[in-house]
C-alpha cells in the first residue's frame, strides 16, 4: 500500500489559499500528517476512515458474523479504534459482534483511571466490556511485581503477561478475532528495532497485519497504515474521550532512541513511516535461517517454542522469590566480580536505548 502523496512533488501552495485541496469548498482546517495536504475537517474524517476501511477490505480482516474483541487500554489508539470500527461496522455492514477487552495490570493511579475511561467508552459506544486482571490470572499485580524486582525490567513482565492476558480474555469471550490499536508508527519502530537487535525471526513477521492465525485467536491491526498523529488529530476533532497519562512504572517509555529517530524521520519525510513498513514487507529471509518451532507450554497450554512459556517462567521466578529468573541470559559464574559487574552494566545499558513503547513489542 502506497497512499502517500509524494512530498517534494507537490505544487507550491498558493499564498493565502485556505480552501480544502480535496473538496475545494470548505476552509482547510489542518495539514494532514501523512501527506501534508491541507484539507478540511470533514474531508479528513472521510480519508481517515476510508483508508482504514480499505485496509480492512484489502486484507480480508473479518468475515460476516465474526465476534471481535477490541483490545482497549483507554489510550488514544484503542479508543479511536473502538469508535472507528463501530462506525465502519454500521456503515459498511461488516456484521461484526464487537466487544471491548481490557487488561487490568494492577497499577495504582494509572490503570484504574484508564479503565474508568474504557467503562465510559462501553456506555458511549454500546460495546460490552470484559476486564481481565493480572491479579486474577497470575496472583500478582504490577504493583506487587515492582515491589519484588524494582523498576528495572518490570516492563518485560508486563509485556509478557499482558499479551497472554489478552488471549485468555478473548477465549472467555469466545471471540474469533482480536484487534489491537498498533499504528504505523509502532510497526515502523518494530521493524527498526528488530534490525538493530538482529532478531530475524521477528523481522520476518512484524509487518504482518494478522498474526497468530495458526494459534487459538488471530490478532489484527487495522491501523497498520494509520499514522499516530492522525489518530490523535481524529480523536481531538471528534472530541473522543481517552486517557493519555503515561505508565508510571515506565516514565521514559516514549523516549527510546528508535522512537525519537522515527519522529525525526517523519518530520523530514512523512512517507518514511510507510516506506519502513514497505521495506519490512519486502524483506526476504534466507531459507537457511532457522526459525523457532511453535509448540505449547506444558503447564498452561499457551503457545510457546520452549517447554514452558515465558509467562510461566517469569511467574515461577516470582513465586519462588527469584524474580530475576527468566530475565535475559545468565552466563556462567566464570570470571571475576569485576567482569560480572561490567557485563551487567553493559547488558543494562544495551536494553535501555532499544526499549520500545511500553517495553518490548511482541507482535
Amino acid at each position: 500500500m502506497d497512499s502517500a502523496v509524494d512530498g517534494p512533488r507537490q505544487p507550491p501552495a498558493r499564498a493565502g489559499s485556505r480552501l480544502c485541496t480535496r473538496c475545494g469548498e470548505r476552509k482547510a482546517a489542518l495539514k494532514r500528517p501523512k501527506t501534508l495536504e491541507q484539507i478540511c475537517r470533514e474531508c479528513f474524517y472521510v480519508v481517515f476512515e476510508d483508508e482504514i476501511h480499505q485496509t480492512i477490505v484489502d486484507n480480508n480482516l473479518f468475515k460476516p458474523g465474526d465476534r471481535v474483541a477490541i483490545g482497549a487500554s483507554g489510550g488514544k489508539d484503542s479508543t479511536v479504534l473502538a469508535y472507528v470500527l463501530s462506525e465502519l461496522n454500521r456503515r459498511h455492514k461488516y456484521c461484526l459482534d464487537l466487544f471491548l477487552l481490557s487488561v487490568d495490570e494492577g497499577i495504582t493511579g494509572y490503570r484504574d483511571d484508564s479503565l474508568e475511561t474504557v467503562k465510559r467508552n462501553e456506555i458511549q459506544y454500546g460495546l460490552p466490556l470484559k476486564i481481565v486482571s493480572y491479579k486474577d490470572l497470575y496472583g500478582w499485580t504490577m504493583d506487587d511485581i515492582v515491589k519484588a524486582i524494582g523498576l528495572k525490567n518490570n516492563c518485560t513482565f508486563c509485556g509478557v503477561f499482558r499479551r497472554q492476558a489478552l488471549d485468555r480474555g478473548a477465549a472467555l469471550l469466545k471471540v474469533d478475532k482480536i484487534v489491537t490499536g498498533h499504528n504505523a508508527d509502532d510497526i515502523a519502530e518494530t521493524v527498526l528495532l528488530n534490525i538493530l537487535r538482529g532478531d530475524i525471526a521477528r523481522l520476518s513477521r512484524c509487518t504482518f497485519i494478522t498474526t497468530g492465525e495458526d494459534g487459538p485467536i488471530p490478532r489484527c491491526k487495522p491501523f497498520k497504515y494509520t499514522y499516530e498523529k492522525e489518530i490523535v488529530m481524529y480523536a481531538y476533532f471528534k472530541k473522543l474521550d481517552y486517557f493519555s497519562t503515561e505508565c508510571i512504572y515506565s516514565p521514559n517509555a516514549y523516549r527510546g532512541f528508535a522512537r525519537e529517530f522515527i519522529k525525526d524521520l517523519e518530520r523530514m519525510r512523512p512517507r518514511a513511516i510507510l516506506d519502513i513498513i514497505k521495506s519490512g514487507e519486502n524483506f526476504r529471509i534466507s531459507t537457511t535461517t532457522r526459525m523457532p518451532e511453535q509448540g505449547t507450554c506444558e503447564r498452561c497450554g499457551y503457545i510457546s517454542s520452549q517447554k514452558l512459556c515465558k509467562a510461566c517462567v517469569l511467574l515461577d521466578g516470582l513465586n519462588r522469590g527469584l524474580p530475576k529468573l527468566g530475565i535475559g541470559r545468565t552466563k556462567g559464574i566464570a570470571g571475576g566480580d569485576g567482569d560480572c559487574e561490567q557485563q551487567a552494566t553493559r547488558s543494562e545499558r544495551n536494553r535501555s536505548s532499544l526499549q520500545g513503547k511500553h517495553g518490548n513489542f511482541d507482535f
Binding site: I200, R269, N282, R284
Partner: protein, 464 residues
C-alpha cells in the same frame, strides 16, 4: 589514560614484538593518544592475543590488542574476505576506488601489501605459472559541486596523488576522473548538464543518492575504458550499517541485500567489498597508528535522511560498540541475489584446489540473472515495481514513460522532478550510459509492435 613507561628491552618479560624501548614507548604514546581521541579506553593492560606490550585497542567483544595484533586482525579480515569470496584472480586488474578517507586508505594499503607479497612469491618461485594481479587507483573528482576555494581543492587532489605515488612498487595507474565526464566528453557541456540535473532535484536525500549513483557510473566508466576486471570499494561495516537503515527507511527492503554482500556482479564490472567486516572506528585508528595519510577536506556537508541515519547509528554505537555489526549481520540473513556471486564458467579455475569445491556447488546451482534493475541506482525491482513496469510497457506512448517506469520507487520519489515537462528535460540531461539502455529496449519494443500491427485488434482500455 596515561601511557605507562615501556619496560627495558633487556628485561625477561619483553614480548616478541618489542624492538626497542624508544620505539615501543612511541608506539604506546601514539596508541594511547589515538585511543583517547576516539573516546575509548583500553579495558586491560595486556594484549589479549600475544600477551605482550600495552593494550592499545579495545575491539568489539572487549578483547584488548596491541598495535601490531590489532593491525594483523584487520589485515586478516581483509585477506579472508578477498580469498574466501574469490574477489581477485591472478589474471585480474583491480581498480581501487580511493576517496581519501580512512576506509579506502586502508583498502589501498592492504591490497597493495597483498600484491607485494604475491610478487615476492612469484619471484621466489621463479615460475611462469601464475601472474600477479594488477592494481589501479581511481579518484572521482566532484569539485565542480564543491563550494570550497579552487586552490584548496587543487591541494587536496594533489595530496591524493602523492598518497598513491608514495606506495613503493607503484600502482599500475592513478585515474582522476571528474564527475561531470559521465555526462559528456566536452568539459563545459558535462559541467552544465551535471549542475542542471542536480539543481532539478528538490529533495536533499535524493540529491545525495543521485550523486552516489553517478559516482558508481564514473567508476564503471574508468574501469571499462582502462581494462579493469574488478572495482574494489572501501565500504566498511559502519557505512554498510548506515546503508541498511537508510535503504529500509526509503522503502528499499527488497533490494537492500544486493548492496551488502561481498560481491556484486550486476554491474558491467563486478564490485567487491573486502572491508565489509571492519568498523570505521577501527580503520580510522589504524590510519593513526600506522601514520597512513588521509585527505578528507573534500567531504561535502550532508543533511537529509542519510545523515540522520548516520547520527542515529553513531548514538547507538556509543552505547553499544557491537551495534553496527549486529545491523550488518541482520542484513546478511536476508536473501542475496543471483548476481551476488561469481558464476561465469571457469571463473574459479585459478583457485587453490582446497577452496574449489565450495564454489563448484554454487556453479551447479547457477540461475540466470533475471532481475530488472533501476535505471539510475541499479536496485533490483520488487514485485510491485515489476507490475508497474509491465503495465507501462503495454500502454507506453512516449519514451519518457519507459524511462520513468524503469526507475525504482525510491528514485522516482526523491530524484525525478515533478511534472512531465520537467521530467522529460531531466532525462534528456542524464548520461547516455543510463538512457542508452532504455533507447535500445524501446527500439526493439516498437520494432516488434510494427511487425504484428496489422493483426492487432483495437485494445479496449478497461482500467484495472
Amino acid at each position: 589514560m596515561a601511557a605507562a613507561a615501556a619496560s627495558s628491552c633487556g628485561g625477561a618479560g619483553c614480548g616478541p614484538h618489542c624492538s626497542s624501548s624508544a620505539s615501543a614507548a612511541a608506539v604506546e604514546d601514539a596508541a594511547a593518544a589515538a585511543a583517547e581521541k576516539v573516546g575509548r579506553l583500553s579495558l586491560s593492560r595486556e594484549c589479549g592475543k600475544c600477551g605482550g606490550g600495552a593494550a592499545a585497542v579495545a575491539v568489539a567483544g572487549g578483547l584488548g590488542l596491541c598495535g601490531e595484533c590489532f593491525r594483523a586482525n584487520l589485515l586478516g579480515k581483509f585477506k579472508l574476505a578477498v580469498t574466501s569470496n574469490a574477489m581477485v584472480r591472478p589474471t585480474d586488474s583491480v581498480l581501487l576506488a580511493f576517496s581519501g578517507g580512512p576506509a579506502s586508505r586502508v583498502a589501498l594499503q592492504f591490497i597493495h601489501e597483498m600484491r607485494c607479497k604475491a610478487i615476492e612469491s612469484w619471484d621466489v618461485s621463479n615460475s611462469q605459472a601464475l601472474p600477479v594481479f594488477g592494481v589501479g587507483v581511481a579518484f572521482v573528482d566532484e569539485s565542480v559541486l564543491c563550494s570550497k576555494p579552487r586552490d584548496e581543492i587543487e591541494m587536496a587532489i594533489e595530496d591524493i596523488r602523492s598518497i598513491v605515488s608514495s606506495l613503493s612498487t607503484g600502482v599500475k595507474a592513478m585515474h582522476i576522473a571528474r564527475l561531470e565526464d559521465v555526462f559528456s566528453t566536452e568539459s563545459e557541456d558535462g559541467e552544465r548538464r551535471l549542475r542542471e540535473a542536480v539543481d532539478m532535484i528538490g529533495d536533499d536525500t535524493g540529491r545525495e543518492d543521485f550523486l552516489r549513483c553517478l559516482r558508481m557510473l564514473s567508476l564503471q566508466k574508468i574501469a571499462m575504458e582502462n581494462g579493469y576486471a574488478k572495482i574494489m570499494l572501501g565500504s566498511c561495516a559502519s557505512a554498510i550499517a548506515c546503508h541498511v537503515l537508510s535503504a529500509t527507511v526509503k522503502g528499499q527492503g527488497y533490494s537492500l541485500p544486493a548492496d551488502v554482500q561481498y560481491v556484486d556482479t550486476r554491474w558491467e564490472i563486478p564490485v567487491v567489498l573486502p572491508l565489509r567486516d571492519c568498523l570505521a572506528q577501527e580503520l580510522t585508528l589504524l590510519c593513526e597508528l600506522d601514520s597512513l595519510k588521509t585527505q578528507q577536506h573534500l567531504d561535502r556537508p550532508s543533511n537529509g535522511i542519510n545523515s540522520l541515519v548516520a547520527s542515529f547509528i553513531k548514538r547507538l554505537r556509543e552505547e553499544n560498540p557491537s551495534r553496527e555489526h549486529t545491523i550488518v549481520r541482520t542484513a546478511q540473513k536476508l536473501k542475496p541475489f543471483s548476481f551476488n556471486k561469481f558464476s561465469a564458467d571457469g571463473y574459479h579455475d585459478f583457485l587453490p584446489s582446497r577452496l574449489r569445491p565450495k564454489f563448484q556447488k554454487f556453479d551447479s546451482d547457477e540461475s540466470t540473472f533475471s532481475e530488472i534493475l533501476c535505471l539510475m541506482c541499479g536496485s533490483p525491482f520488487s514485485e510491485s515495481e515489476l507490475q508497474n513496469l509491465e503495465s507501462t510497457k503495454h500502454k507506453a506512448q512516449k519514451k519518457i514513460d519507459l524511462y520513468t517506469a524503469h526507475c525504482c520507487q525510491s528514485c522516482y520519489f526523491q530524484i525525478l522532478p515533478a511534472g512531465e515537462n520537467l521530467n522529460e528535460h531531466f532525462f534528456s540531461l542524464l548520461p547516455k550510459l543510463w538512457t542508452g539502455k532504455m533507447d535500445t529496449i524501446s527500439d526493439s519494443h516498437s520494432l516488434l509492435r510494427d511487425q504484428i500491427e496489422e493483426y492487432l485488434l483495437e485494445e479496449n482500455d478497461d482500467g484495472n
